[in-house]
């Protein structure tokens, strides 16, 4: 079991959702997050008044996948989230030691 976590631009979320659905991924968690990477924050000027944008709005996606499906899911997210511009985000994969479907108590791959 792996947990795929990705930070993507808000306007790419629908696209990612769609490709994951096409892949047969059953579930996805999204969270509105703010942060900075190499893109940093920036100063916005609104009609002469400056205001600092320290953190850039992004969306965090989390998907639990069976080991064999990881590469497909990773490739799909990267492809769907890429605009080629700065701030496209990051993705990482971690080991999920235990996965349990709360309603039924199913464990492991059955719970994904």
């Amino acid at each position: 079991m792996k947990l795929v976590t990705a930070i993507v631009k808000p306007h790419r979320v629908d696209e990612v959702k769609e490709v994951l659905r096409d892949l047969g991924v059953q579930g996805l968690t999204t969270t509105d997050v703010e942060g900075f990477g190499r893109q940093r924050g920036h100063t916005e000027v609104y009609r002469g008044a400056e205001y600092q944008v320290d953190f850039v709005p992004k969306v965090k996606l989390e998907v639990l996948v069976a080991d064999g499906d990881v590469q497909g899911v990773v490739d799909a997210i990267v492809k769907a989230a890429r605009t080629g511009k700065i701030g496209d985000g990051k993705l990482w994969v971690t080991e999920a030691e235990q996965v349990i479907r709360i309603r039924t108590g199913e464990m492991g791959p059955d719970a994904v």
Partner: protein, 818 residues
Amino acid sequence: MIADPLARLTEELAALDRAYSRGHHGRWSAGRRSDLFDAALVALFSAGDAPPGVALAALGGYGRRQQLPRSDVDLLVVHDGRRLDDVAALVDRVLYPLWDVGLEVGQAVRTPDECASIATERLDAATAMLDLRYLAGDEGLAAEAGAHVRAGVSADPAGFVARLRDGAAARADRYGSTAHLLEPELKEGAGGLRDIQTIAWVGAAVEGVSLRDRERAALDAAEEFLIRVRSALHLETGRRTDRLVLDHQPSIAREMGFIDEPRLIAEDGLMRAVFEHARQVSRILADVRARASDDGEAEGHAVAPIEGAVGVLEALAEVSEAGAPASPRLLDAIEAAEVPDPVDWSPEVRAAFLGLLRTGAPAAHALDTLDRLGLLARYLPAWTAVRCRPQRDPYHRFTVDTHLTTALTGMATMLTAPDPDDPMEHDAVTEMSDADALLLGALLHDIGKTGAGGHVAIGARIADETLASMRLPAATRELASFMVSHHLLLPDTATRRDLTDEDLIMGVAATIGTPERLGALYLLAKADAAATGPAAWTPWRRALVRELVTKVRRVFDRGEMGAELAERLTDRIGRLRDLLEREPDDEVERFVMRMPRGYFLSVEPVRAARHYATIAPDIGRHDVRSVAADGSRPGMYELLVVAADRPGLLSWIAGALAVAGLSILSAQVFTTVDGVAVDLFEVEGAFEPEVGERRWREFRRTLRGAIEGAISLDRRVEDKRRHYPPPDPAVPVTIAVANDASDFSTVIEVGAPDRLGLLYDVTSALADLQLDVRVAKVATYTGRVIDAFYVRDAIGGKVTDPAQVAEIETSVRARLEG
């Protein structure tokens, strides 16, 4: 025959729960349940030797014979204080068996004096003991305890009413409103069962506070209904649950017999009924409290009769603004007023209504009062469809009508006191010429949530009708209607679209048209979100909406888009569609959607229609299409080049033109949303005015060779240049790089003496720096050329690093002076 009273109790309780469907356990069931407990408790109490001077009594809901399926059983043991050990033994004997079978029992052991003193300390204890009911033992002692508590209350009725008021306020704070929240608390929420009891307690404490017949009937119906819902919730969850969360609403609606109706699914029907009952309760409680605190002096002052639709609004505005609840006599007077159905919106009615809206929070209160008297729908017939209507999404906390009046309040607050830390709000408020439109837009923005789906389109239609019936000035009507039909534009675009896409920003600016409308939508987005719930206006959403507003605002400020341009754009696209009427509709639509707005603004429809055949078909990665046509004057030619966009393309075209001996008089570069470059040039022959087919062929051949990498343009342009006059050395080369002229691109201005292949030189220098030219404006004056290039770096951003900016200057200069 079951001998054990507890075994019998548990069996009979279970039988009662099963006796009929979960949705029909009202007061009768609660009374029957109380009787079952009574029988068991009397049996337990009498089973041993009850000591003298002890009584067992029921408290709270159990005392009122309203024992709900999973509620606590509240008991009071009253004793005379003389045989404490015996009392303790008795309590053990009666209570332990109840606990042992898993019943939730709350118990208190007090003397009558203790009852009185604890009643003065704790309101909940006092009210529970007001409903004290004797069960077993020393009846006189139980009566004494009850009398002590009641005496304490009647010694200071005003104080007791004040405590009840504070208690109700604390509950409303903690549990919210049963009348407005989508997941209401049925027992403790404002308008819930506790409020119904509070009305009874006020009535018991204060003499002469009586209910009108209609109020009594409304409370009776509310109590029965809310008890049924709450009982159903207990039975469904198997425990004492009093908050009716979304998950349970469908099954409870079914249990209670609600069915799907057109535009009102069963669970919405259930919730609408809950809200309607709870609103009645809230209002009657407020009235009863006002009556109870009346000092009697005002009794003599009759309220003057109220005249018609205007009088009602004025009277409400007056009391609401004073911050006072409408007195019962005022309500009577309003009810007695003759308000036509529907109201005719005379100038006086309109003035009174708008005057009321401007008061903000008091206006929401006044509209609520109008609603309770059944009058609001006479002013706004569309209100009926959103009244008490639940909304099922994860963000909303309130019913549709409450959401609308809350948004109105938020808007009015911003108009009177704009947030000094929000420059956009400040600008929007100070630049706004029509506050009435803002208030109406806020009040009506979700009026389309009628259960028929697609609330924005439906709402726009309903708002138009409503605003038309109000006979408002055209400008007010238009702005308010625009707000309703576009209230999701900013939040939806900000959170779902790419804000670095210039054409998107131009499109939003074209849709909005003016800074005033932009301000109106921003204020509405804020008021709407604040009225939705805590999750709707997070720093996350705010940052995105502000970025969008900032960019659109700058487009207006720079004059890149505005009301006039937006109109011209609409007009031109309309004319283009007419010109292309023989082409398939979906192809034309795709063409319009793919092309940037800037294209339609600078290319008139007749030319765009001519371009259609070249631009519209899909183009392969290595294809290039070009079409030459006569230009604006004899000897000038319009050249259209279409190819998949790639770094360097513009320089290859410019180079190929130079090689073919063609001078560029002006150039416009557009990129479609799907990455196709559409480059438009005005050219003339460098020497001979007539440009024949041979030259065009040469241009095409050279361009194709350059794209395929088969030829060196540098050498060919250099060769060609030898045949032409050298540039005028008196004209200086100037290069300026600016980052404040556009939100999306760095702007490079180049001034230089005219020479063959100048555009090739500049654009190939930019291509070497990995810069993508998004827009090029080329203009030639006698001997001198002024060009502006809008460029972005390899990842689509502006060039902001000072070292890179300096590099642009040196590279371009080296190329032009070398």
